[in-house]
Amino acid sequence: MRAGRDGGGVTGAVEDVDQFRARARAWIEANLEPRDPSLPREFDFAAERALQARMFDAGFTGFMFPTEYGGLGLTIDHQRAFFEEAAGYFTPSYFAVSIGMLGATILDCGTEEQKTHHLPAILRADEIFVQLLSEPSGGSDLAGALTRATRDGDTWVINGSKIWTSGGDVATHGLMLARTDWDVPKHRGLSMLIVPLGDHPGVTIEPIMQVNGDADFCQEFFDDVTVPVGNLLGAENEGWAVAQRLLFNERNTTAGIGIGHGYMANLSGSVRGDATIGERLQRLLHAAARRGADTDPEIRRLIGRTGVDLVAHEFARRRIMTGQTLGALDGPWGSLLKLGEGIDSPAIAADALAIAGASGVISVDDAAGGDQGAAWIASRGISIGGGSNEMQRNIVSERLLGLPRELDPSRELPFSEIQERRRRAQRDRTPSGGHR
C-alpha cells in the first residue's frame, strides 16, 4: 500500500472495501450512463475528459494514488470493487495511459514539486501526459534515442523527433527520453524530461493514419524546443532508470494490473467501446448465425476456442495479480501477460474471419458487416505497440527466467562509437545476391 488518507506512509484507516463498494455503487447509479453493449458508440474525447473530471471531483479516481497528490490512498481491492460496480456503465477509458503509465512514473520518480504540480491535474485529466520514447530510427531499442537535449543556462534545448505516440494530438505534456551525453554507453547518456506539447513553441505534431484508418498515433518534431531545467525527471543522465520504471508501469497497465486504472478495462470492457468477453462471443455467434454457420461444428468449436483463450487469459491475470499482491511474485510479470495478449489478439482475430465469413469483410446495408475484417487488420497493434512480442519474450526469458542476455555491444561502447560503426556499415554494404 502506497499511502493512506492521512497522507504518506502506511495507514490503518483505509475505508472498508464493502463500505466503499456500496458508496461507489450509489454514486455510479446516480451519475454514470448505462451501457448498451449491442450499440457500438463513437468515441467522444471531450465527453470522456469531462467525465474524468467529474469522477475526480466526486472522489472516484486515482484509487491507489496518495491523497496528498489528489489520489484516494486506497488499495487495488477498492479499485477493483469500483470497476466491478461500474461494469454496466460508461467510464472514461482514455486516460489509462496518462494516469497508469505516466502519472505512476511521476509518482515513482518525481520531485515533491513535480508530484504536487502534475499528479492532481493528471488524475483530473486537466493535464494529459503521453510517452515520448520511440523514434523513427529504431522502434524497440529505446535506449538508442537520437533526440538531443542540450543544457543552456536554466533551460534544456531539445532537437529531434519522436513517433508512435498514442494521443499525441490531444496531450498537454510528454515524458521524453533524450540524449544528454553522447560519449558514454547508450544507457548512461539519457535523461527524462517533462515536455509541454500542444502549441508549445518549436513543437510540431503530425497524426499518423493507421491501417484501420484511425489516427491514434502521432509523430512529433522538436526544433529548438526549450524547457526549464526543473523539468528533468530523475537525475541527469539517469533517464534510463526512469524509462525502465515507465516501461514497468506501461506493462502493468496494459496487462490490467497497474495502479492507475488497473483492472477496469477488462471488467467494464469500456475501453473505447470494447466489449466484455461475453459480448464478444455473442457477436461472434451472431456473425456465424447471419450466414447460417452457427450450427456448423467447426465454427462452433472456433467460437468456443476463442472463449477459452479469452477466459484463460483472465485466469492467468488473476493468478499473477494474486502472486504480486501476496508478494510471491517479483519482477516484470506484466510482460508475460502482455505477451499473451500479443499472441492471442491476432490469432483470435484470424479465427473471427473464419467464423464471420464474407459478411465479416463486406458490408452492404448492414451496420455490423465488416467488423471482423477491420478488427483483424488492427489486431497486431497489441503485438507490436508497448514493446513487441519479441521484446516481451526477451524480457520474460532474461528477467523472469534469468537466461543469458542477448549480446549488445552498445552496452559497453560510447554511443558516438556505435553511431560511427552504423554509418560505416551502411556505407560499406554491398547489394545482397540473387535479388537485384
Binding site: R301, G307, D309, V311, R319, L336, R393, L400
Partner: protein, 379 residues
C-alpha cells in the same frame, strides 16, 4: 503451486510432496507398469492416512477439508501427484466419496465410505459409453429400471478408471424417469470388467458390462431420475483434479527443460543463450502460467459452486488439455534425442497428458459446450 494456500493446506501439500518423493519415485512407478492394479495397495493405504481420500468425506466420519474450499485442498494433492506422475486412483475414489457424501443413503455411506477413506477399498466411476461423451448428454446405453423392490442395471460402460481394482462402481445411467446413479458391487453377478491398456504406464482403464445386475433400491445415489446435476458436479470435480494434476506435470517438466538448456552447451555457449530457444521458453512459460491460472480457477469454482462453474471448468479443461500436449512436445523437441529414449522420463509425462486430454471430455467437446453456453446467454 498456488500462492494463496492456507497454512493447513500448505502442510498437506508439503507432506504429500515428501511422501511422493519417498514412496512414489519414478523408479517405483516404472516398476508398477507391469502390475495389474498399476498402484501398490499398501502405499495407497498410507497415502490415504495423509488425507488424500478424506477431504470430501462427511465430517461425521472424520472427513472434511482443511480450508474453506476442500476442492482446492484436494487439487493441491493432485498437483503434487502430477509432478511425479504418481500412481493411485485419487480421482475416481474422491469423486465417489463426494457423490456418496452428497447423495448416498446414510447406511450406504456408513458401509462404503470408511473403507475408501482408509484406502482399504477402491471405487471407480463409470460415466462414458461407446459415444465417448463424458457428461449427462452421453448417457443412454446403460439403463437402470425398477423390478419390484429391486433395481436392475444393464448396459456397457467404457474407459472406467481403476475398474479392475475397484470394490464398488458408481454407475451413471439412464432410467425411465431420467439420469440416475447407483453404487454397484464390482463383484456382483452380471458385472464383467474387461481390462484395457492405456498408454499411461500405471493408470488403468477398463470397460464394464452390466448384464441384468440386480441391486437393492437403497443403492441409488441421489434421486432416481434426477441425477443430472450430480453427474455434472462430478464431472466438474473430476476435471478440477485432472487439470491440477496436469499442471503439476507441466510445472515439473518445464523447470527440468529450462535447467537442461542452461546446463547444455553447443557451439561454445549454453543452449539457453540462443534467442530462438529463449523465445520458445518464454511462450512455454506463458502457457504454463495460464494453465496454472485455469486450474486454480476451476478448483475455486467447483469448491464454491460458483455461478460460472460450467464456464470456468470447461475453459480449464480445454486450455490445459491442449496446452499440455503442445508444451510437452516442445519439451521433447528442446531436449533432443535423449527425450526419445525409454529411459528418459519425458514420455511418462506425455503418456499421462495424452490420457488426461481425452478423458472427462476432450478440449473439442468442452469448446462446443462453451459455445452452447454462449448460445444460452450463460457466458
Amino acid at each position: 503451486m498456488r500462492f494463496d494456500l492456507n497454512d493447513d493446506t500448505e502442510f498437506l501439500r508439503a507432506t504429500t510432496s515428501r511422501f511422493i518423493a519417498d514412496e512414489m519415485s519414478m523408479a517405483a512407478t516404472r516398476a508398477l507398469a507391469s502390475a495389474p492394479d498399476g498402484f501398490d495397495r499398501d502405499t495407497w493405504r498410507r497415502a490415504a492416512e495423509l488425507g488424500w481420500t478424506s477431504l470430501l468425506a462427511p465430517a461425521s466420519l472424520g472427513g472434511g477439508g482443511l480450508s474453506d474450499n476442500a476442492v482446492v485442498d484436494l487439487a493441491a494433492v493432485a498437483e503434487e501427484m502430477g509432478r511425479r506422475v504418481a500412481p493411485g486412483p485419487l480421482l475416481p475414489v474422491n469423486v465417489v466419496v463426494d457423490a456418496l457424501a452428497r447423495g448416498g443413503e446414510p447406511a450406504l455411506v456408513q458401509e462404503v465410505v470408511p473403507g475408501l477413506m482408509a484406502g482399504d477399498t477402491i471405487a471407480a466411476w463409470a460415466l462414458a459409453e461407446s459415444r465417448d461423451v463424458w457428461g449427462v448428454d452421453g448417457l443412454g446405453e446403460t439403463v437402470v429400471r425398477e423390478d419390484g423392490d429391486h433395481l436392475v442395471v444393464s448396459g456397457h460402460k467404457r474407459f472406467v478408471e481403476a475398474a479392475a481394482s475397484a470394490d464398488v462402481i458408481l454407475v451413471s445411467a439412464m432410467s425411465p424417469s431420467g439420469p440416475t446413479q447407483v453404487l454397484v458391487d464390482a463383484r456382483a453377478d452380471g458385472v464383467t470388467v474387461i481390462p484395457g491398456r492405456s498408454i499411461d504406464l500405471v493408470r488403468r482403464f477398463a470397460d464394464v458390462a452390466f448384464d441384468g445386475v440386480r441391486i437393492a433400491s437403497d443403492a441409488v445415489v441421489g434421486t432416481m431420475g434426477d441425477a443430472a446435476g450430480d453427474i455434472e458436479h462430478q464431472c466438474q470435480l473430476a476435471l478440477a483434479l485432472q487439470v491440477a494434476e496436469t499442471v503439476g506435470m507441466l510445472d515439473d517438466v518445464y523447470v527440468t527443460t529450462v535447467e537442461y538448456l542452461v546446463d547444455r552447451w553447443s557451439f561454445g555457449r549454453p543452449l539457453a543463450s540462443y534467442q530462438a530457444l529463449k523465445h520458445r521458453l518464454a511462450d512455454m512459460l506463458l502457457a504454463l502460467e495460464t494453465a496454472k491460472g485455469c486450474a486454480e480457477a476451476a478448483a475455486d469454482a467447483v469448491g464454491t459452486d460458483d455461478a460460472n462453474v460450467r464456464r470456468d471448468v470447461g475453459v480449464a479443461k480445454a486450455y490445459v488439455g491442449r496446452a499440455a500436449i503442445e508444451l510437452l512436445g516442445e519439451c521433447v523437441q528442446l531436449h533432443g534425442g535423449i527425450a526419445m529414449t525409454w529411459e528418459h522420463d519425458l514420455h511418462v509425462y506425455e503418456r499421462r497428458a495424452a490420457v488426461n486430454r481425452a478423458v472427462y471430455g476432450s478440449p473439442e467437446y468442452h469448446e462446443e459446450r462453451l459455445c452452447a453456453l454462449v448460445e444460452t446467454g450463460a457466458v
